[in-house]
Symmetry: C3
Subunit: 345 residues, 3 copies
């Protein structure tokens, strides 16, 4: 269902600012909080005393205190204290490797010994200067793999997002898909000499380009295991090199899709956009976030209803067309990860 | 559970005016839409590409276009086109026989080869001049057979509809039930020399009769397989012949109950009234629809709670009294239809 | 799950004033109403005719009349009459022993022959003069035993009710638990020379004591099988004898917790407070009810979430600390009652 030996985005930093956060990840209820040094900690969300969720409690001196009878827990899952009790023999709660990196809190729901915080990929917009990021969080009523499929086949933009980023030429442009040795999957499409759709016209205007000018548009979707998708998107004035055009002749962004399974039929969707123009313009960041939020909300209903239909017809084989190759390859990688975690023999 | 080789009312025509309609019938999700000629088409509500419900899409050139990636389907369940794809080898969606007749859209959820559109019964109010019809649609939280029972035993009017059409004399009048060779079941009751209840007093006033006059009242319930009930109801001035009284001395209607299973515990209830007086008076049609809608909504809570109770006590045998004979006979017909559809041997 | 051969509080008297009341108790849907003498009657909430809940009907001449087709039932579960029917052969509904005692309606969901109304315990505040009572009813989303646990370990007050009755000294005071031969369990705690928390300061003021004075506080929790908890609580001026202090030097109450299982994961919580000061002051009764209602509502969310967690981890053993001894002993009594009711051999 979900690979466990992997880093998943668990939360945005401000979700674990003061109060603890309870969130189910890969069907594991986990309590997150910040210790006295401000480091995020994560343990299973079950008090060893009477089973109440620890995340309903509060933080005191960097420990997570159960809101029912006051058991205090450390980030290692050991009970530190409880009023009137000797706690040395208390059973431990499971602690999860957790890290705050690149604007997100990440958790490793699998074997702790295998967790290497350096394996969290450094995003381009953190590695380079000149980028700005804005985004949000949606709870999606579907298997996380349906959302990966969605993002690895952008022909849906023409239909689901017709009024913003969709346009007929997406359907008409051929798509090329490749599997990289790293397990990443890239599926890309280029459209030359077209008019930009409304979302990109607004971005051109914001960046000082004539929104009516003909452009070359690109979409390069990159699946990053276990379940994230980063998409290079943008438009450049026609004939300037597209993705490789000089800065002044293009508008380029990365659509960020960090997808974290919650259960077999739901997932957390940390979406956002990192842009390489006007990074200091926070009003523009807000405007893009609002626009992107509306666009991505359009996917929610169709994914919910697709999920319901697939549950109703579990044995029905779906088509795997050329446009689906990105999702198909991504699922193969996920299946390999699952097989590697399965008990032997 | 439900006979499939039968015509069921699927929708009212204006429900499939512009946009497609998705509706579950006999546990089968079905998408309805109008083709270029305005003919209603019906296919299973599952896109062969990725399983999204086709009914979330739109109609273009008479074809149903999936709202996710643009697959276009014809009324025969064959994919007509999809951007950038050769669709000849695509698997077919199941197409359902469908017809628009007598003010409703009908669907045949069973074997298409057995569907004969001429088997849809012609209602009296379409066969004759001088009738008007008004009605509505309710989603009922019960097995469709509980609603058939409800309508084949009108003694419930005294209790559930006490303020409108109920009256003590219903309970007191004997009921006679007969099974016709056609599989129809008739259960009828006549009450002589009584005062009309409020609903019928209003109808008498609307028709120029003294609402305080003594009347003869009739209720002739007709079960029409697989699951519909048509009820001749009315009052005539006392001693004028009741149902057979001359037009000027009576107020007569047909209560129309087209009942279509949705699932094992829910159904669609197309209710209405066809009346044989003042057919041109559309304000009267609206007033009757509103009054009938309120009355029929009174059944909803008791049927929901009856359904819950029966699910809790599935093995409890219910009584089958004389007043229940109509429902009991109707269920026998339904059971015969089910047996005829069951696999042999 | 629940002992059946026991008296449970089913309702407050005014819940069965005019209309019938339907309530599920120990997973048994039961209809309650008052007969012509005002005596409460209780039968299973299932009409023998067609299975509708009898509690949806009405009372006529002291009989419960089904709101669907008018079957009238007596308190013995026998059908008394039905319009147009001979009812002698109708199957009986199950009748439950029921009694109105000490301000509540009690029901015995088990074997009627074993029900002895004199076994209903007489509460202190009915046996003596000078008491006043006020309370309410909550529907709790948890196994009734989790609520018993909650009330037999008041260290949770420090955390769940920090702003009203909680205080640090509860955690610090040792607790003593004993099992009485009657099957009652007592767990008690005494705190000497402390400052009263806000709720008790208000009670001291209402009773003419200085709210800032140092006090001795007591909590004596008494589990009364099958599932009720009565708690002697109060504060006395320091050194005056605590619970045994003279009336003028203390404020004493009994917290009343009548707990009745609804299902495996829900229960009815009849909570209240009987106080032994200013019994004639109805405004004070209302004020205490409002304050107590707010305090007890604070338990609801944590119990709901604890229940969810325990369902998710059904095999996880919980800790049984000294503070949990009251609940642990209470569950042993419940288990003995269940074993006594289990089929032999």
């Amino acid at each position: 269902m979900f690979p466990l030996n992997a880093w998943y985005v668990a939360a945005m930093p401000d979700e674990v600012a003061q109060a603890p956060l309870g969130r189910r990840i890969c069907d594991l209820p986990i309590a997150f909080w910040r210790d006295a040094q401000g480091q995020v900690q994560a343990v299973e969300d079950f008090c060893p005393h009477r089973g109440a969720p620890l995340s309903l409690g509060f933080v005191r001196d960097g420990q997570l205190v159960c809101g029912y009878h006051g058991l205090a827990m450390g980030g290692d899952g050991k009970t530190v204290s409880m009023p009137g009790q000797r706690t040395r023999g208390f059973p431990c709660a499971r602690a999860y490797p957790v890290a705050e990196r690149y604007g997100f809190i990440w958790v490793w729901p699998g074997e702790a010994a295998k967790a290497d915080v350096n394996a969290i990929p450094v995003p381009l917009w953190h590695a380079q200067e000149g980028w700005a990021y804005g985004g949000g969080l949606y709870h999606m009523p579907c298997d996380y793999r349906l959302l990966v499929d969605n993002l690895m086949d952008l022909t849906h933009e023409t239909y689901v997002h017709a009024s913003s980023i969709g346009q007929k030429e997406i359907d008409e442009a051929p798509v090329a898909t490749q599997l990289l040795p790293s397990g990443q999957v890239i599926t890309e499409r280029r459209m030359g000499g077209i008019h930009a759709p409304p979302f990109w016209q607004a971005a051109m205007t914001a960046n000082g380009l004539d929104p009516q000018a003909k452009v070359d548009r690109w979409q390069v979707c990159r699946f990053v295991p276990p379940s994230n998708v980063l998409i290079d998107v943008g438009v450049a004035l026609e004939g300037q090199g597209g993705f490789d055009a000089p800065e002044h002749a293009k508008v380029a962004s990365v659509v960020v899709d960090y997808i974290t399974p919650e259960s077999a039929t739901s997932c957390w969707y940390f979406w956002g956009m990192a842009r390489h123009f006007k990074p200091e313009d926070t009003a523009l960041t807000d405007a893009i976030r609002e626009g992107q939020g509306k666009i991505f909300a359009e996917d929610m209903e169709i994914l919910r209803r697709q999920q319901e239909n697939l549950l109703r017809w579990p044995d029905r084989a779906l088509l795997k067309l050329n446009i689906d190759a990105g999702g198909v390859q991504a699922r193969k990688i996920i299946d390999q990860m699952l097989a590697a975690e399965a008990p032997q023999g």
